[in-house]
């Protein structure tokens, strides 16, 4: 028992207590079963709808929703990655460098806790608020138009706290002695960061990045009014002449709405949802196993030396 805690023990009849125990156990099994069924139902619906129509052709063809055939979803797949990549450009530097500030022993404690607070606040900004802000400020007020940069920054706003938090936690897990020793040997902050913090926290940082990518890839509300939509080509630059960027979630949302007006639209929505889910699952799994993978990698590299 931890200090200061007391437990009052008033045991009732043993048979009733063990019956309760069993009842709770059974309720738990039932609920787990239902949850499993729901998950299976979602995956089945998407996979069933997608697999009967998915072809390599659709994944690699342009012009989604194009008039006579319905086209393919190439731009949306590549566009999703470009948006996420742009999001990383704007969220990885503040995420990692900001967490270096917070974990540094000599940083102001007050400021560090404020930084943590604001990072937490950032996770709680609803996606539609980021979308509205993105449209009114970046797209309209600054005149960037529907663009890679507006969509990317809208995603970065929500990716940043995940990258920051996971990086911070991984850096905190590094033994303090190691850092003290480094400083005692005359290392400066830059050296401690580049030789201890970043290398040691690498696997954690990468798994945070993977997690952030998996979340960003599935976002819709931020992108509808910042990235717009474009199935006719990939962006040639950050602002891209207001041509917008394609992304998978748009097809999932709009394909269903277009219905029969556009041939194949509903099928494309299923396929986009399927590609999206598979991508995200792979990323989540990668994120989860990143620790092991990075360790293996470094072992392999050491072995080949």
């Amino acid at each position: 028992m931890t200090e200061g805690e007391t437990v009052t023990v008033k045991w009732r009849k043993a048979s009733i207590r063990s019956a309760k125990d069993t009842a709770v156990r059974i309720v738990g099994y039932i609920i787990l079963f239902i949850l499993f069924a729901v998950l299976a139902a979602i995956f089945y619906e998407i996979a069933d709808g997608a697999l009967s129509n998915i072809t390599w052709q659709i994944l690699t063809t342009s012009n989604t929703f194009e008039g006579t055939t319905g086209g393919g979803i190439y731009e949306a797949i590549a566009g999703t990655w470009m948006l996420v990549g742009t999001g990383l450009l704007f969220s990885v530097p503040p995420g990692i460098l900001g967490s270096l500030y917070v974990v540094r022993a000599k940083s102001s404690k007050t400021l560090s806790s404020l930084v943590r607070l604001f990072t937490d606040i950032l996770t709680s900004v609803p996606s539609i608020v980021i979308g509205l802000f993105g449209y009114l400020f970046m797209v309209y007020y600054l005149g960037w138009g529907f663009s890679l940069i507006a969509g990317g920054i809208a995603l970065a706003i929500m990716m940043l706290p995940y990258i920051f938090r996971v990086a911070e936690l991984s850096m905190k897990a590094i033994p303090v002695e190691q850092i003290h020793n480094a400083y005692a040997l005359g290392a400066d902050d830059f050296q401690v960061a580049t030789r201890i913090y970043i290398p040691q926290a690498l696997s954690g940082v990468l798994s945070g990045i993977m997690l952030a990518i998996s979340i960003a890839a599935g976002e819709t509300a931020q992108l509808l009014y910042t990235a717009g939509w474009n199935a006719g080509g990939l962006p040639s630059g950050f602002t891209n002449n207001n041509l917008g960027v394609g992304y998978l979630t748009y097809i999932v949302y709009n394909g269903l709405l277009q219905g029969s007006a556009i041939p194949n639209a509903t099928n494309l929505a299923y396929i986009a949802a399927f590609v999206l889910i598979v991508t995200i699952l792979v990323l989540v799994l990668l994120s989860k196993s990143m620790n092991r993978i990075v360790k293996k990698l470094s072992q392999i590299m050491r072995g080949t030396r």
Binding site: E66, G85, V92, L202, I209, S236, G259, A261
Partner: protein, 361 residues
């Protein structure tokens, strides 16, 4: 080992960032090389299927111009085009109020609406409805299908006593605008209580249902008997396939008329002399014995001064093609499949062409 880890971190980061861009060079990027002009269109979801058909077909005719359409909603189309953030802003309604300086709305097509119903057993019967009846249903003063007003308009039809479930669009929409504009013109109490809007302040009825876009309306209607709603004519094939009833509507001349292309064109023809040079007019309740009462022109909103002459010229060529009966307004090639109605040729030459000619670089 530390250095190696850093290198690895950088390699990883770069890989992640670059992976998305990697396919770009491989796949090529048609449409943005220096010799071609890529034009952006954004706005109306009703016109989105049309632009999706027009784009590739126009590029076949004029290989140096590509069109990249996006369905974002008419309001966004107008605001983006006004700000110069899109070349074309497609809208189901003309700009409300004074048209800002340097901007024009150009009529390109006519679209119209059905009033559809799903009454088990009566879907094959064409009901007669009027703006007064429909306004009553949506305002909650007419609540059941055998209401005396509906019975009076449909003598001899055995109407069920079930409650009427009106369906509206859940998203801000040009279709809601056209529908509320029809009721505003046709019914005084609707005009004073609700008026015309893309997001009408629907009188709150507990039984009301909503659907996102036309497909959503049709989906809800399919699942719910005794419903009524307004569907854009572009969804004719779906409505017919699902076997819903389509009402004949009371027009200005006092006749119940069916939504046919001829009756819609008749409405536009009746208004010909009244269309102002800026193209801004609602076509509801046109005079004429056979004019269908719910129709409106579809618009493209543009900035008169475009970033370059090359872009302005490309836009003009495209728009001339769109309204040409041998180009985008060809019934056989495009419009009958989309259930949109071409503008009468006198409107094309008298209103649309002069507006297109004002676009400059």
């Amino acid at each position: 080992m530390n250095r190696r880890n850093i290198v690895k971190a950088i390699v990883f980061a770069v890989l992640i960032v670059v992976s998305g861009f990697a396919g770009y060079e491989l796949h090529g990027n048609s449409g943005t090389s220096s010799s071609t002009v890529a034009l952006s269109e954004t706005g109306s979801s009703l016109l989105y299927p049309a632009f999706n058909l027009w784009g590739p077909n126009f590029t076949k005719v004029q290989s140096s111009v590509t069109i990249s359409p996006a369905s974002t909603g008419s309001g966004t189309g107008i605001s983006q085009a006004e700000k110069g953030l899109a070349n074309f802003g497609a809208s189901d309604a003309y700009i409300q109020g004074a048209i800002p300086a340097g901007v024009e709305n150009i009529p390109i097509l006519i679209s119209y609406q059905y009033i559809c119903y799903n009454i088990p057993g009566l879907n094959s019967v064409t009901l007669n409805l009027s703006a007064g009846i429909i306004a009553g249903i949506y305002m909650g003063t007419i609540t059941s299908w055998n209401d005396t007003a509906i019975q009076a308009a449909n003598p001899g039809v055995h109407l069920p006593g079930n409650a009427i479930i009106p369906i509206v669009r859940s998203d801000g929409s040009g279709d809601s605008f056209m529908f509320s504009s029809y009721l505003t013109k046709g019914n005084a109490s609707w005009a004073s209580a609700v008026g015309t809007s893309t997001n009408p302040s629907w009188p709150t009825l507990p039984q009301e249902k909503t659907g996102a876009q036309n497909t959503g309306l049709i989906g809800v209607m399919k699942n719910t008997p005794y419903t009524i709603t307004y569907i854009a004519a572009t969804y004719t094939s779906t409505v017919k396939a699902d076997g819903f009833g389509i009402a004949d509507l009371l027009n200005a001349a006092g006749n119940y008329v069916a939504p046919t292309i001829a009756n819609v064109q008749q409405a536009a023809n009746q208004y010909l002399s009244l269309i102002p040079s800026n193209g801004t007019i609602a076509l509801q309740f046109a005079p004429g014995a056979t004019s269908y009462p719910i129709a409106d022109m579809e618009y493209i909103v543009v900035q008169k001064v475009q970033p370059s002459f090359q872009i302005a010229a490309a836009m003009q060529v495209f728009m001339f093609w769109v309204v040409s009966s041998s180009g985008g307004s060809s019934l056989t090639n495009f419009l009958s499949g989309l259930d949109l109605v071409p503008l009468p040729s006198s409107v094309v030459t008298g209103i649309t062409m002069p507006l297109i000619e004002l676009i400059t670089g």
